[in-house]
Symmetry: C2
Subunit: 336 residues, 2 copies
Amino acid sequence: MTARIDNETDLIQTYLAPLAAGAPGAFGLQDDAALISPEPGTDIVISTDPVRAGVHFLESHRAGDIAWKALAVNISDLAAKGAKPLAYTMALAFPDAPERAWMQSFADGLRAAQTEFGCHLIGGDTDRTSGPLSVSITAFGSVPQGRMVQRTTAKAGDHIFVTGTLGDAALGLALHRDPAFLSRELSSGNRAFLSGRYLRPSPRVALAPLLLSCASASLDVSDGLIKDLGRLAAAAKAGVAIRFAGLPLSPPARHMISAAPQFTERIVAGGDDYEILFAVPPGRLETMRGIALAIPVQITEIGRLEAGGGVTLLDASGQAMHLGGGGYDHFSRVAR
Amino acid sequence: MTARIDNETDLIQTYLAPLAAGAPGAFGLQDDAALISPEPGTDIVISTDPVRAGVHFLESHRAGDIAWKALAVNISDLAAKGAKPLAYTMALAFPDAPERAWMQSFADGLRAAQTEFGCHLIGGDTDRTSGPLSVSITAFGSVPQGRMVQRTTAKAGDHIFVTGTLGDAALGLALHRDPAFLSRELSSGNRAFLSGRYLRPSPRVALAPLLLSCASASLDVSDGLIKDLGRLAAAAKAGVAIRFAGLPLSPPARHMISAAPQFTERIVAGGDDYEILFAVPPGRLETMRGIALAIPVQITEIGRLEAGGGVTLLDASGQAMHLGGGGYDHFSRVAR
């Protein structure tokens, strides 16, 4: 027999209130509103990025993974702004009364994520929907007053960096859709790595001090490098040429695209990376390199903004590579 | 021919960015995050209350009314906490690419509401869903530090007040579901009044100064007086007896329930009032009455918290009235 939760108070008090324990502005999730008491001299940075079954995750995903990712995509936006995570609110809409085991796994995933990212649940809402499961998180972080790192403030001449490795999540999604595919080519360890990068992204919250002191602009890579780099460059009224061979790729990703070159484009256009793409003016490069040594996040320079426009991707012989897509667009496609 | 918007940038820049004009933390809706710069000595109060077609509104509602209500339900939560509205973020999920005329009407409704309530759009997200239209607003307000009026802090002996009139919205919904019903009994002016109270609730933001200086506890009436009063009383470990004849009813509501007494229960259990229910300790009564004279909101005392528990509703002869329901619960029912 499957136990389902048919009472909102039970759902909140049994599964969600423990995630708010110790957060003073949460009022035990018993009020209609939540509270943030900002430290003097700080601004509050806000990200709101709902996820929905069929668009941002698959119904078949485990509840703990859904919860982790729902929070991670918001914390990633905060991290890209140089913000320190503080708290989040969450609105859940269920197509059916959730099963207890599912809800416990969801709460466990959320606890693991909020512990990792350093924030607490402080409020929200639960109700029912005739549509798919949706998890709408709004996350709050703090930055020193007036110091939020914007997306649109880079300039021609700035150097472009990206954290971590690119394309792992997009390749992980491809494996999820067709688990048998490439099973001969890819070791189980490599498959687990790519799948993990898709299901449980790691927002780069450790990068905040570096961004705050050195970055002229920053955003997270959620729709693919080409599309997000295009946004950063366009706002700077600049262009950029990137060598594919110079992009940071994980060993499993290199392995997969050498076995199946048709997946190469996903490295730069697949989305879901949740790495941070940022610009550094020449005068801040040396300081940035010093801070980078103290931060446990891999950082790779991938190009430099120049007069002109557009993003060009170059192959090993210096020729422009043709891309069919151009990044993932949640608005024009309902399901991948 | 119906023009549809199939491009997210077009949707944001044409219809939403104008709602963010002049708000410094909105960055023209071109960043992934929004910013609030809190005034020194203030806390930020947060409400997050998504609305969804089929649960909180009907597909047949006009876009401008949907927009108004989506914002109003959140501002009402802020108002009940004594907060001054500052800003909001909004995540929209569309089942189909929206029509331009629909989107214009939606933006117009939002503009009217944010002007009325005194806040701006500062960020959000748009995407597509396989489910019904959903509008997820998170609203932000400010209160003097440490002064947010909570729900759970009333005490036995406190006097209970409610703003405005009760039941209008629930009766308005009944008329929406069956427009022909009662058309002989109710004038078109009365029908328009009740319908307007359902479609375009007026959050009581003007009440903030009174709540901050005199209320021991407060919440908005969104699930019906009985249910919400039950929450306030239960948290105070107290009970309360209310005379039905002493409740504030509008003339159209009195007219409708005298013509159709079967709707009487909706006055106290129908929900969607968005009035404010608050408790005042005896020692603050005189101050409260003074402030009330300066505030353009009707305030009615409806009872007093006593030792014991539960909410009792009394008829004209002092007998307890029996209620079938007990307030509206979005969690256990998908559509009304």
